[in-house]
């Protein structure tokens, strides 16, 4: 009786060990998938917000107004010291219109999105 119980316990232990092993492998694979999905999602959110910021800046330039330059981590307008994202622009006037290259980069300097916009406003049209 004691021997049989011992065998049963060993079987249970073996099953438990196998289950934990399989679960660990599958959990690692699924976790990897979820982490990469999260990273792609964050990148998409960042790109979408950067596009909106560049669009806003482009329309400001076309209307002859100053755009928002510094954004915090949640893409709200911020002071330079708290800026996580920075909008840079480069003006060029040529042949009756102005060309503005607008770029959004993060605090480490990595470019997220850039756009070149022509505007009549600065040329006095």
């Amino acid at each position: 009786m004691k021997k049989r119980m011992s065998f049963h316990s060993k079987l249970m232990l073996l099953e438990l060990a196998l289950v934990i092993g399989f679960f660990a492998v599958f959990a690692a694979v699924c976790l990897r998938i979820i982490i990469s999905a999260h990273q792609i999602s964050e990148k998409n959110v960042r790109l979408t917000n950067a596009i909106i910021a560049v669009e806003n800046a482009a329309e400001c330039f076309k209307a002859g107004k100053d755009p928002i330059i510094f954004y915090d981590g949640d893409w709200n307008p911020a002071e330079e010291s708290e800026a996580a994202y920075i909008l840079e622009h480069d003006f060029n006037s040529q042949d009756g219109f102005s060309t503005v290259k607008i770029k959004v980069r993060d605090e480490k300097g990595g470019e997220i999105f850039s756009l070149t916009v022509n505007s009549l406003k600065a040329a006095g049209q």
Partner: protein, 142 residues
Amino acid sequence: MNKGRYTGLGSTSLILVFSVLCLAVFSLLTLSLVNRENTLTQKFKASVENYYSADSMAVETAVKLRNALSDGKIPAKINGIAIHSDSSGSYSFACPIDKEHSIAVRLKQEAETLKILSWQKTNTADWRPEERLGIWSGKDVP
């Protein structure tokens, strides 16, 4: 005794199968959702780039048209874009954004400058209005 001896054996395997299935389904759903989100973001990016590319082309065309008019010429095309003029002295052209949209511009010459009458995004795709709605007329009651 024999009946209860192996109670519980295999239940952990069943829980494993259920957990693994849940994990696999939820992780694949997450990945699928993110891939769709990514496709949408790329489409948004492409649409913004195409719009501002067309807008920039429209600005260049307007400036070249103004220069041509100040030289006393009315060009038929500028940068491959057809320029249309009418009797009221206004000029119009359209810069394509994509297959279904374009920026339509109407300008009027006033002294040395061109006044913008309209500068708008228009739909150029063919579409057919649905004129017949399948509304129940009250006849043919079963």
